[in-house]
């Protein structure tokens, strides 16, 4: 039998339903892949072998009874900032080293209800603070394309695990870039839903008006399946609107004739690594050849997004990390790493009396301008396309003393996150052997349109053959 860990979610579903394979076989294949690769990759903080095999057995019984659920019997890994009942959740911080949550995050509950086999918890930047997975208190994750390189972050463990076929699919979270950027560096699909589309309940909070859970997958169709499972209104999260969830998979349509795609000049920066802009532009031309219209547009300079994001996110971090005092759970505040300390202190400063107006309030005003800027563009075009990150994967160790690395690496992403928009990273080629990603950004709740454009590209191009 061929290596089952190479399967996609959709292929697994078909084979499981046709009883060609069992969930136990599929889960075992993934656990074997993990066992073989983890010493090199370190994409997991916790592998849940026993629990996974026992849920796989239950799934097989359900399948035998003729039950079919979107993820029934399919091994999925989850970023370690999603609370999993009875399974250690650390957010890759020693503060939560021994924390065993007494409840499931809404996303985890929905995955379980859809039959998913939760195979483990992925490594990440501690508290999701970073774009390298290098700030994890449990050590960095390595990029499967080149073990001397970083996977990006903060969902770097999930991106690496999906990319290396340790799992069939993965769930990450993005505040600004934490899904798209590691997906770009690891060459996978990373889907960032509209803010509010997916519940934040039970996710270790970074910044409450930005955090958006989303799937990382091997194909666009897999993202559509997983997004369909986790999206939707949650009575436990007051920021999830009660808007019906479409059937993203069923409605997936590679016909993009007439779609208007904006290419913001400011996002094809001359400072980006040579070759990236060209490769992304070529991928845009592919969409044009499929009937889309490319429109050059102007967006506010990314430097405003980065400054704005820094203040708003740090303020949120300083507030959200206040609950960690070691009284009800976890260790006390002496266990915070340096990155968390930096962020908490900067955020507290921006909110403190005498400085609030100059920093936090102004940042909220700039955020309004950024949102209005995108509103304006979306009256002209349907989607926006640009490079996801200004570089391919950087070497391990290169970000450790760079306090602003995370923001710099997510320079092209922060604006759309602040505006609450949906977006996807699609791999568009290899530059010196490392994946390059393009992002396609859509307006609020236009997930289907974003998925369709990504799907059209994926159907047309085998990205691994595009090399420079």
């Amino acid at each position: 039998m061929s290596d089952l860990s190479l399967l996609t979610v959709e292929e697994s579903r078909k084979k499981l339903d046709a009883k060609e394979i069992s969930s136990v076989e599929l889960t075992t294949a993934c656990l074997d892949s993990i066992a073989k690769q983890e010493p090199d990759l370190h994409a997991f903080v916790t592998v849940l072998s026993e629990q996974a095999l026992s849920s796989a057995k239950v799934a097989d019984q359900s399948i035998a009874k003729g039950e079919s659920l979107p993820l029934l019997g399919i091994p999925i890994s989850i970023k370690d900032n999603f609370l999993t009942k009875g399974a250690r959740t650390t957010a890759s911080s020693k503060v939560l080293d021994g924390f065993i949550p007494p409840f499931d995050a809404t996303v985890v509950r929905k995955l379980k209800e859809a039959g998913a086999v939760i195979i483990g918890k992925n490594n990440m930047d501690a508290w999701a603070h970073g774009s390298s997975t290098e700030t994890s208190d449990y050590g960095p994750t390595h990029n499967p394309w080149d073990l001397s390189k970083l996977p990006g972050g903060s969902s770097g463990g999930t991106a690496a695990a999906v990319s290396a076929n340790e799992v069939i699919g993965g769930i990450g979270s993005e505040t600004a870039g934490s899904i798209r950027q590691p997906a770009s560096w690891c060459g996978v699909i990373g889907f960032k839903p509209t803010y509010g589309r997916v519940s934040r309940y039970g996710v270790v909070a970074m910044e409450a008006s930005l955090d958006s859970p989303g799937p990382l997958s091997k194909t666009v169709r897999d993202s559509a399946i997983m997004l369909g499972v986790i999206a939707g209104h949650d009575v436990l999260d007051a920021t999830t609107p009660d808007i019906a969830v479409p059937n993203y998979l069923k409605d997936l349509n590679s016909n993009i004739k007439g779609l208007r795609i904006g290419l913001p000049k400011e996002y094809f920066m001359k400072e980006s690594q040579a070759g990236i802009n060209d490769m992304v532009m070529k991928s845009a031309k592919q969409l044009e050849s499929l009937g889309a219209t490319l429109v050059e547009v102007n967006l506010m300079d990314p430097k405003f997004g980065i400054a704005d994001y820094t203040i708003i996110q740090r303020a949120g971090v300083s507030s959200n990390l206040s609950r960690y005092d070691g009284v009800r759970y976890g260790n006390d505040r002496t266990y915070f790493g340096k990155e968390a300390k930096r962020r908490v202190m900067l955020g507290s400063y921006a909110l403190s009396s005498g400085y609030y107006d100059a920093y936090y309030k102004r940042a909220q005003q700039v955020r309004m301008l950024l949102k209005q800027d995108f509103d304006r563009i979306f009256s002209q075009v349907d989607l926006i396309m640009s490079p996801t990150a200004p570089s391919t994967a950087l070497p391990i160790g290169s970000t450790l003393n760079e306090a602003m690395f995370g923001e710099l690496s997510d320079l092209l992403i922060e604006g759309s996150s602040l505006a609450g928009l949906t977006a996807v990273n699609i791999p568009v080629g290899l530059l010196s052997g490392l994946p390059v990603g393009a992002q396609i950004i859509g307006n609020h709740f236009q997930e289907q349109q974003v998925l369709n454009a990504a799907y059209a590209y994926e159907q047309k191009v085998n990205w691994k053959e595009i090399k420079a």
Binding site: Y201, V204, E207, A238, A315, G316, S353
Partner: protein, 432 residues
Amino acid sequence: MTYQLICGAEIHVELKTKSKMFCGCKNDPFHAPGPNIYTCPVCLGLPGGLPVPNKQAIEDTILLGLAIHSEIPSLAHFDRKHYFYPDLPKGYQISQKDEPFCIGGYIDTTEGRVRINHIHLEEDAAKMHHDLVDGKKVSLIDFNRSSVPLVEIVTEPDIHSAEQAKEFLKKVRDIVRAIGVSDCDMEKGSMRLEANISLTKDGSLPPYKVEVKNINSFRYFANSLTSEFVRQSEILDKGETPVQETRGYRSATNSTASQRVKEDAADYRYFPDPDIPPIVISKEWLEEIRSRLPELPSSKIDGLIKLGIVESAAKIIVNDQAMMEYIEQVKTLNPKFVQSAAKDIVNKKIDHTKLSPADYIKSLESKNADKVTDENVLKPIIEKILSDNPTVVADFKAGKQNALGFFVGAVMRASSGKADAGIVTSILQKIL
């Protein structure tokens, strides 16, 4: 040197909703059979817990604002207020700073109007107590109270005497109870008080204020004003300025003691809570809430005065549910006896908890039974008085109405007060 007292009050009231402010845990910390049994990820501050505001608590707050003449703005939002303390699970309290539910308002006292600055809605902290375990000083925490809805009523510095303070606080309590949003039980801690006290010579606001906490009753609140007046006067007499600080009231010594010098004032780093979208109060919603406003104590007092009850008695009656019901029943049975019933229950001439209104009225009627009502008995007496006073009869016929009163009085005297004045009047009118 004489000083004028300047005092503003901060009154915390726990709302008696069924569930907590931001989660569905039971709101009943006082009667909980054990510690930490009404908690969830939200009120325990677990990672990933998210607040969803309780609609009833918001409506209760607005109702209170309407009862004390506050303006209800069309837009309100919640803010995070940060400080560290083991009883505060998230490291911040969800409160309201810039856009609370109620702005302004007032309550009138006999010593003048006390203006309300605003009323805001927030969540209570957990309950902590201090103990010795294995010989070590520890603090034990119970999160049953964590995130119970709490309104804070903040006044302007319009309280100028201990008596006024007591009257004001009682009025606040009576209003809150009348609208049914809290028990205001000081012993259970569902009503808690703080005073901001300073002294002035010329009525202007002084450059300092002393915050007094740990006040467990209206009397202690009044006492803290008296004792602070003495303490601060002595400092001011020496030409010094009292230290801006927080002091705790000690009932045993009827004095206050310094708790924390406020120089290093806490920086709460307020900012709008991104977890909770803003609350828009439409006209329709506001009117719906207003329609639930019951008759308030002040308006009930006015109603009793209109029935002929003196003000002092009316105030006592509206504060006593049983007395109020008694008067209502007497009024229904025979409004003639409302005045005397009010007088008799307030002066404790009768025990209104034992004597039913019906029996009370019967007893008054039987007293009246002694009255002489027989026209055949009264007529000769009346005729004699008329013939004895021909000039007065002439005056009456000339239009002097008060002549009638003269005759009624004379008949009463002649019958040693036993004649029924109503019947006497009707006979007189017939004859004349």
